[in-house]
Amino acid sequence: MTGMNIERNPGMGLNLDWIESIQVNKSATERRAATLGTRRSVKKQNQVAWLLKAITLIDLTTLAGDDTEQRVKRLCAKAKNPLRHDLVEALAIADLKLTTGAICVYHDMLSTAASCLKGTDIHLAAVSTGFPAGLTPMHLKIEEIKESVKAGADEIDIVITRKHVFAENWQALYDEVKAYREACGEAHMKTILSTGEISTLRNVAKASMVCMMAGADFIKTSTGKEAVNATLPVSLTMIRQIREYHERTGFKVGYKPAGGISKAKEALVYLSMMKEELGNDWLEPELFRFGASSLLGDIERQLEHQVTGHYSAAHRHAIG
């Protein structure tokens, strides 16, 4: 971790005037998103540095029904040593002590992951509150958060109740997320909006703002289980709300796109988007994460290409 000192967002009272004044024009958002990747290009040494940065921003994730302790151990091992040692040497970056930002698992896998990650700076995130649908009873969802924190998670990825968004019942959404935040205690809370399900960019923007008001440390796109997960227009919409919240309150909220980002090139576009729209603070793991399982593999291949001049193959890099 960079040790950047970010004052935690305490949240604020629900301000419906702010929510109601939110406007999002879909076509214009798409147009800006479409030129993010064409307005900026990062090459050579700079690209290497940016990809290394991207590694530190990954929440290396496994969220499958067939997860086992052995599988999670393997993932943790990868998080600790994300890059092949000869590449680390060739790039002369051993003292960066590169790791991924976090490991992200279901509650059941926390104790295994916690013992694997002991002694590292790698965060341990648990998806919670009846992930992915979030339709379990409220008191169980609160209990689930508390159990996970007890089991060693220092980051909790909660899912919001989508029906509150459809009903535009911002009070209910706010109360729910605020309760989760209280249950999290010291653990940082990422609020998953399930952007693929709440569908419109206007909903995404409003839900983002409500979650930040309720004390979100991060706002996160999706569960990875939806038909559409993180996209650039959705991301642009969410980070513009982060900017708005920062301008109005002075607090910096983090952003986590999840699902669908699997290529190094896409990661670079995301990074330049964060840099352009929010600034360099949002290029650090305190304020930006990729929720991804296969992105790391592609970054490794690109880095090997930069080092050797030859295009690489997946089997040359350890799986997680």
Partner: protein, 783 residues
Amino acid sequence: MNIKDIFHTMDYGKAPESAELALEWLASHNNTFGHHINGSWVKGKEHFASNNPATGQELAQVAQADDKIVQKAVNAANKALPDWQALSGHQRGQYLYAIARLIQKNSRLFAVLETLDNGKPIRESRDIDVPLAVRHFYHHAGWAQLLDTEFPDHQAIGVVGQIIPWNFPLLMLAWKIAPALATGNTVVIKPAEFTSLTALLFAEICEQAGLPKGVLNVVTGDGRTGQHIVNHPEIKKIAFTGSTAVGRWIRQATAGSGKKLSLELGGKSAFIVCADADLDAAVEGVVDAIWFNQGQVCCAGSRLLVQEAVADRFHDKLISRMNKLRVGDPLDKSIDMGAIIDPRQQQKIATLVQAGVDAGASLNQSSVELPENGCFYPPTLLTDVSPSDQVVQDEIFGPVLVSMTFRTPSEAVALANNSRYGLAASIWSENINLAMHLAPLVQAGVVWINCTNQFDAAAGFGGVKESGFGREGGKEGLFEYLKNKPGKSPAKVTAKSTKSKPTSVNLNGLDKTPKMYIGGKQTRPDGGYSYAINDTAGDLICHVGLGNRKDVRNAVEAAAGSTNWSGMSGFQRQQVMYFMAENLSYREEEFAARLMAHGHSKKAADAEVQAAIERLSYYAAWCDKYDGQVHSVPMRGVAMAMHEPIGVIGIQCPDEAPLLSFVSLLAPAMAMGNRVVMTASEHFPLPALDFYQVLNTSDVPAGTVNIISGEQAELCKPLAGHMNVDAIWYFGEDSETVERESATNLKRSWTVTEVRDWHNNGQGSEFLRQASQVKNIWTPYGE
């Protein structure tokens, strides 16, 4: 910096596009070019340097074409004309298709060469200019194919001269050449002297495409070469994109020459941000409006109008966005703004901005570091300005935005229209009612709702007011390169001298002095003079008012102030015009008598009145049927080509068929919603002067139609030169005066010197087209 440093700074570094291929191409020509005429290179003289504005370094030597070279090019174009026109539309389309393919194949070369020569960011030449140029050739390959079936009554004009600017050298070339060739014309084109290189590469590409020799001729040089083209008698049409000053000169220089003209000129386009807009989206819109191509864009949204309620927030957002823009090496792929075209232009921008600051404007300039060498100017926002400031009125043609606020939608419209220009406008609101309310009210040829600087070959582009006339792109753009197939011209009608003293008085039922009709009232001539109207035997019939410039002024004032007619629905106008036809038919005998007084036989007089009644009905029918189009542009949304009235049209009627010609010109202008100032036939004015009765009894709002009598030669100057007249139609011999005077405010002019057969060739879509203008409204949608 090493990797570890960059890991912490997260800088972009450099990402330069290679200039190698473009430089090789220049070297293969020894960095010296002649002209490309008749399919091959012709040696040039008086070479001058074409520089890279980002470095100041010379790229190549380009030649200055003199009159002999232009003559050579025109000869080649003339010679190529018959064979080119003899090809089928399909065959001509194949050539355009081949050109599109070849530009695509060489797209990177074109993009890099354009960026080297012009200084625009490689992203723009690569992602916008070149793909749009390709798109224009594909689109017009299709029009070539469809020409015979879609335009059966039209034919090519002949040799066309095209003069293009330096801000989009290849794209403007494509906009000009593609429709000209598709419609069967041959071309002499002159690129701007700062940016000739992609035009010369294009000429080579056409050689490769096997385009027949002489169909396209490229001559290079400065304004002097342009003058040779504009003044050349064998060039039948001039298409120009550039400054309003030069456009005005071209209008004057070609006056009376019979040349067809299209002018795409300057602008000071409004960028309207309503309180309910997506402000972040609108900020990006501003970036695409005024910080695109360094603001050197004729349709740049350079006048920001933002609603008071959100003005401070919007300015804050804009300034922080502005500070993120990267200015520098145009070949760098991470650059937002490149170089200004030339040190003189940079100086002009700096001078104008300083004048604005001296006048009290607050200067907000991007903190971005500019390169030490080369011609750069930072993104700039001027606030605290007002409509009376020069920076608000004048086109700066640089990355400088001026910002004002408005309180209500109607104030936004008033501010937006408070300009000599009328090229484009951009409207930002999430309220469809508001956006669609504003779009028709803003005087502009193109309106972008929640977007800006959208272009496509399928949608017309062009302005109103002093931004010029004519459209490029879309079906509307093709008419600029077509003319009607000739109809039969009857003999000119001549009148006996009107100077004779009255010898005998034959009132023939007339017991009064017919008056003029201004603002819904019968009026006497301002000067208090009248002139004699004689019958065919030379005997005096009566005296009519001798109108002068003050009568013109009063009539225009009345027309300009009477906006009711233009606001009525097509259906409402239709009711009135049918009523006019009905009321004319009640007065058949009266009007026939007037015509007989002018020497018509009873039969001819009856036939003309009957034809006039039918013509009124014909255009009454059109009132609610001359629909616009929805263009098929590559966007999730609609580009609506709306037919709008032009405003106030001055119409000078001919002597032939004095009632029918009057009605044939009045009716289409009215049908499309214009207000008119008609000057009656000079020698046979009685039916026109009596027409007020029809107007008075038909519920035509006062001021919609104003009728003056007098000498055409006397009236044409003040009418054609009036700044508040939006178009002039002239049927007479002195088209030169009319066209020259029309240059004052660059109004559209329709001058016809041939005598027309008003019975058989006096109605049709040509009249409706002349009576309307196309506004393209782009509206992307999606939720």
